[in-house]
Amino acid sequence: MSRGKSTTLLTIIGVVLAVLIALTFATFPVGEVSEYTSALGAIELDYDLEGGKAYTLKLSEENEEEVKDVNQVLDTLEYRLTALGYSAYSVKAVKNTDPAVLDYDIRIEVKETETVDSDIEVVAAFGEVAFYGGTSANPTEQILEGEKVVESANYLGAVTSGTTTAYQMTIKFTDDAYAYIINAIEAAEVDGGSYYLEVKLGDQVLLSGSSAITASSFYNRLLYITSQNEAGAKQMALQVTSGGLAYQYEIDSVEDISSPYGEGVATKCAIAIGVLFLVLMVAIIVIYKGFGWISALSTLAFMLLEIWMLIAVPGIVLSLGGVVGIAAALLLAVYSMIITADRIKEEYSHSEKTVKAAINRGFQQSLVPVISVNVVVGIIAIALLAFTSGTVKCFAITLGIGAVISLISALLFTRMFTSLIMPLVKNKEKFLNMKKVEA
């Protein structure tokens, strides 16, 4: 590549990077009324970094049963919060130290969202799913008591028929429960009658027992249930899946709450990552000289891409686990680049190759280890993403995104910057801090 072409391309890339840096970190007025907020500021933060709302649940006066195991209640609440997409929440049971106070209050601390109030109502809702069956309409005899009846329940979405919209959910019965109901239907039909099934969640009727059901009401052990409102259908699916909240709680108070990790924790995390980035840059420039500068540029591109991906990928809410994931990914990105730098250096020092030939060979030699490093990390990130929740999941997301960008940075950006910068350098050997080693 000619020097002129390199200079032009580097200038264009420099301008693009400068604009990206400004858009990522700067806040400036746009016109007279609006303001551009930095991309960094647009990253959605989770409760642990930003605070949110605290809901205190107290045992309802209508509650009949004594709370034997409050941890069971907490487990159900956590399951429901996770199912609704919350990750860095806090659910704890607190009570006064006065020995006369026996009941725990439950405090749910969670990120503030548009739907958080209704979500917490769903999460705290009382009632266990119960099934009633018989050969006459609106049966009152409870069936399948004390057995595992429901395998899963899912919210399906809206179904529009003409001008009416209803919201559907499904209940998937276990093999035994399904066999019990089908046998009951067949027995009723043999006697020339019909079978009626009513499904209740606490006092709420999910499926009315006013109409008879047949075996064809089921598809693959699935029973379809419709609700007139979306929140209701979601609530039903969530509650049927997570099991009933065994005790009746009421939301007693709702208050704003700051981050549990201290004031300004998000800013402090950003500063920590910034310091890490700067020191890393200085270290690789000092150790690897010219290739250090090339790696520093690639790492800058890596960081900018990682930040922008946090905004571009829908649904990412950054928690402290995510911050740790970014730091780990940054380490891996630099490590990947160092692998290439070392291989180039060795190719040059232990052979008769020219600088250009050593660079080409070094990139070839480092291809497999660089890919392997990022693939291995990507595999772990995918596995964690699939099976974990909460702050580990956020760690997996930022680490996984980081692994992909690290791969691109090490293979593409580093190569590109090398191709653009090297034609401008007169003493390439000195620039790359390389020396021939005599055999």
Binding site: K95, D256, G262, E263, L320, G321, V324, A327, V377, A383
Partner: protein
């Protein structure tokens, strides 16, 4: 290279076993280190909530300074200053690991006097203490499942890319790193929660990543004409000597990240920083020594 520095010495085995045995014994006897939210008893900790009835003038500021002054005077240490503000700042939550019930009434009076002294006579202060119920770590088995699946997938990938010795070395390093991380957590008494799962995953991920690059180097170097007469352990030693700078740089950067996180003296960031350091150190150690150890053992002593 007749005497192998790394592979033939028992350094790796002795250090790993010592750390794991001591760490696991400490975890077995005392459990993990815990903050007030994550201890090992039925009681997770205590929360003292200090409130003002309305947010007039500097009431909240007086509330905060006088409460913290009171705790300091009484020698009561709340968990690293992880204070939460509730109800738009009108209530402050201080977490303690011990029961400080006997001080609560006195605290209320003290804060009330400070409010009066600040000409905030219309503001009333109140204080109460709550006990928090302890719970175990949740989601451990999902983490184990995720790690198990990742190990199988990484083994298959490394088997294709780096052959059996490389694949075994990679997953071995990851497993040892995770084990070392847990043990070091037990030894250092750094609080396990709320980041222990992240720490385990990170130590395993970093160790596998470092290890897979190192075993690739072993493979390449063992085919190098210069090294054909060397045993596998000698090749590994030669590679490790070259890779040392990279590993030192990596460990130094990990340490720096930990310091950067902990420097703000926020308790949870200190826990995160401490765990980051332990995960990084475990990963570096396991990958540097473990990958060579297994690779050379599987490859055999002579080529």
């Amino acid at each position: 290279m007749k005497n192998s520095k790394f592979c033939k010495t028992k350094f790796f085995i002795v250090v790993t076993l010592a750390i794991v045995l001591v760490g696991m014994a400490l975890v077995g006897v005392f459990g993990f280190g815990g903050t007030s939210d994550y201890p090992n008893d039925n009681v997770a900790g205590y929360e003292v909530t200090v409130s003002v009835n309305h947010n007039a003038g500097d009431a909240v500021s007086v509330l905060k300074t006088s409460s913290e002054e009171f705790f300091k005077n009484k020698g009561l240490e709340f968990v690293g200053g992880a204070t939460q503000q509730l109800d738009k700042g009108k209530t402050l939550i201080y977490k303690f690991t011990t029961d400080v019930s006997s001080f609560v009434e006195e605290l209320e009076v003290y804060v009330g006097e400070k409010l009066v002294a600040a000409d905030l006579t219309s503001v009333k202060a109140s204080a109460e203490i709550n006990v928090i119920n302890a719970r175990g770590f949740s989601g451990v088995w999902w983490l184990v499942l995720a790690c198990g699946i990742a190990v199988v997938a990484i083994f298959i990938y490394a088997l294709i890319m780096e052959k059996l010795a490389g694949a075994l070395a990679t997953v071995f390093s990851g497993a040892v790193a995770a084990l070392l991380f847990i043990s070091l957590l037990g030894i250092t008494r750094i609080s396990a929660a709320p980041f222990v799962a992240v720490g385990i995953a990170m130590s395993a991920a970093l160790a596998c990543a470092l290890s897979v690059a190192t075993v690739n180097r072993f493979k390449v170097e063992s085919k190098n004409s210069e090294n054909l007469s060397l045993s596998a352990s000698e090749v590994a030693d030669k590679v490790l000597a070259k890779e040392k700078t990279k590993y030192i740089l990596f460990a130094a950067v990990v340490a720096l990240t930990a310091i950067a996180l902990a420097a703000f003296m926020l308790p949870y960031l200190m826990i995160a920083g401490g765990q980051f350091l332990l995960a990084g150190v475990s990963a570096t150690f396991a990958a540097y020594f473990g990958s060579a150890f297994i690779w050379a053992a599987v490859k055999g002593k002579k080529k």
